[in-house]
């Protein structure tokens, strides 16, 4: 048996890396590095979940780690990288409302906000420091994902923001609420569907009008409409 205190130490180090990855997703202008960062972030979450399993010994946590590994580290990044190949856009340089620099500064504020908020919510509850810290990071990860979603203009980055927001929910669930396993599975299914839809939309929207028409013809939509 490994010493739980040592495991908790490692979890704290992983927390730090999760926050770094969140900061990188906010500030990067390169789509492929944003995707890599998301993959690493998901992997870190899987690792946290596995370490919690080693401490607690609940089989559910192990399952969750495997599920996260399979879906968020392998499947979803694969789909998103397919999108990135198809749309031939390497960088996301357009921002709405906030440039990355102010976003980073704002996210410090968001972390502070979630800390003050959660410290009031959990006042008087017997929650260990590690778990409280995990909850704070989970909530701030969610808020930072939201920040990515509204400050970016490209669909792919928005989707990545949404995905990292879900990572935050998972983190929060791991440390505080003990989300039922079935809900976690459903959320992951939803995510896969979302990414698939984004693939279809992004590939469709990026092709030229002629190609779009060609595709519609092949699918026998609008066949009789054209007058010629």
């Amino acid at each position: 048996m490994i010493d739980p205190l040592f495991l908790e130490g490692i979890i704290k180090v992983l927390f730090v890396f999760v926050l770094i990855s969140a900061g990188l997703i906010i500030s990067t202008r390169n789509l492929s590095s944003a995707l890599t960062t998301y993959t690493i972030q998901s992997f870190l979450l899987a690792a946290v979940s596995f370490l919690l399993y080693l401490i607690d010994g609940k089989g559910q946590l192990l399952l969750l780690a495997c599920l996260t590994l399979a879906s968020k580290v392998i499947l979803i990044p694969y789909f998103v990288s397919r999108i990135e190949e198809k749309i031939k856009i390497g960088r996301d340089l357009h921002f709405a409302y906030l440039e990355p620099t102010p976003s980073l500064l704002l996210s410090i504020g968001l972390i502070l906000l979630s800390y003050t908020f959660l410290s009031r919510v959990f006042e008087g509850l017997p929650l260990s420091k590690l778990f409280f810290f995990g909850a704070v990071i989970g909530l701030s990860l969610t808020l930072m994902g939201m920040l990515v979603m509204f400050s970016r203009k490209k669909v792919v980055t928005k989707a990545l923001g949404y995905l990292s927001m879900e990572n935050g929910v998972l983190m929060f669930g791991l440390f505080v609420t003990e989300l039922p396993f079935i809900i976690e599975v459903l959320i992951i299914l939803d995510l896969i569907i979302l990414v698939l839809l984004t693939t279809i939309l992004a590939v469709g929207m990026d092709s030229s009008i002629e190609e779009y028409r060609q595709k519609f013809r092949e699918l026998q939509i609008w066949t009789g409409v054209e007058s010629r």
Binding site: G23, P100, L105
Partner: protein, 313 residues
């Protein structure tokens, strides 16, 4: 003033002064390999310094005492700084030596006089370099203060000696947040030593110069002193970063064997860091001047995060 500190005051600056140029050369070598060249020998820096030291200094007719004074001031400032960063062993505390605020102000003094020296020669290049350097300094200095404040907060002291004494002897850093501070310290190291993506040390092009522009008019002995000071500054900042993230082997007692081991290990670790810096520089292009604050904000973000995490957890 105790014997431990006297020994330290002899050994540490000497070690830093001798080893510092080597790492300038090592970074150059790594960059050369990354570009598919062989690059100059590691000792070329020492030959260059010897050559420059033997040459006489030439001054522009418009220059004043500042230009003559700056190289000596810079080198002596950094020699004093080298008393603040324990490289071979951590001595018992003495006086105000090691205070982080004094350290930051000494660095600021060096920066200020380099900028003045750039202006003093009366060439357009120097003035441009000084202007750029000062505007960047105005942005990086708050970040530096926050980063060092985070370091002080984590290691629970304002004295660099006490901080590293606390950290010494552990294989892993004592707190996970030190990883975060190290990222900030790395960015500060890159900015302060004028490396890519902030400034390109290998070019004399008008558009990209910051640091080189300020010492463009310096010649002979003065140039040698300035380059030595620059190398020393890089070595000391590297020392702070290494003692923060990878303190293993740093000796806290006076023992010839332990000091030798700690100095040797430090040389190895600094070599590793120099290789990382070289690769980092090779992988990046120079950033646009107005995008640089975004780079600094990363450092600020990580330092502020460190303080937040230390308060929470």
């Amino acid at each position: 003033m105790n014997t431990s500190f006297l020994l330290f005051a002899l050994l540490n600056p000497l070690f830093a002064l001798l080893a510092a140029p080597l790492y300038m050369a090592l970074i150059r070598k790594v960059k050369a390999y990354a570009q598919g060249r062989r690059g100059p020998s590691l000792f070329q820096v020492y030959y260059d310094l010897r050559k420059l030291l033997q040459k006489e200094a030439v001054y522009s007719p418009t220059s004043s005492w500042i230009m003559r004074f700056t190289p000596y001031l810079n080198l002596s400032t950094l020699l004093v700084c080298s008393l603040f960063v324990p490289l071979v062993f951590v001595p018992e505390p003495a006086g105000g030596i090691g205070n982080i605020i004094v350290f930051l102000y000494l660095l600021a003094l060096e920066r200020f006089f380099t900028a003045l020296g750039g202006l003093d020669a009366g060439s357009a290049f120097g003035g441009m370099g000084s202007s750029r350097s000062m505007s960047l300094a105005a942005v990086i200095e708050p970040t530096m203060v926050v980063a060092f404040a985070a370091l002080a907060f984590v290691l629970k002291s304002l004295n660099l000696h006490q901080m590293f004494a606390l950290n010494a002897g552990t294989i892993l850093p004592i707190s996970p947040t030190l990883v975060l501070v190290s990222i900030s310290l790395f960015i500060i190291l890159i900015v302060e030593t004028g490396r890519l993506p902030v400034d390109n040390p290998a070019t004399h092009l008008e558009l990209t110069m910051i640091n080189e522009a300020m010492i463009l008019e310096q010649t002979g002995t003065n140039l040698a002193l300035l380059e030595l000071a620059h190398a020393l500054k890089q070595f000391l900042l590297m020392g702070i970063l290494i003692n923060t993230i990878l303190p293993v082997g740093l000796s806290t007692e006076i023992d010839a064997g332990k000091i030798a081991v700690s100095a040797f290990l430090f040389l190895l670790k600094a070599g590793l860091l120099a290789i990382i810096i070289g690769l980092f520089e090779s992988a990046l292009a120079k950033m646009r001047l107005f995008r640089l604050p975004a780079f600094y904000v990363m450092a600020f973000f990580f330092s502020a995060l460190t303080i937040l995490i230390e308060v929470f957890a």
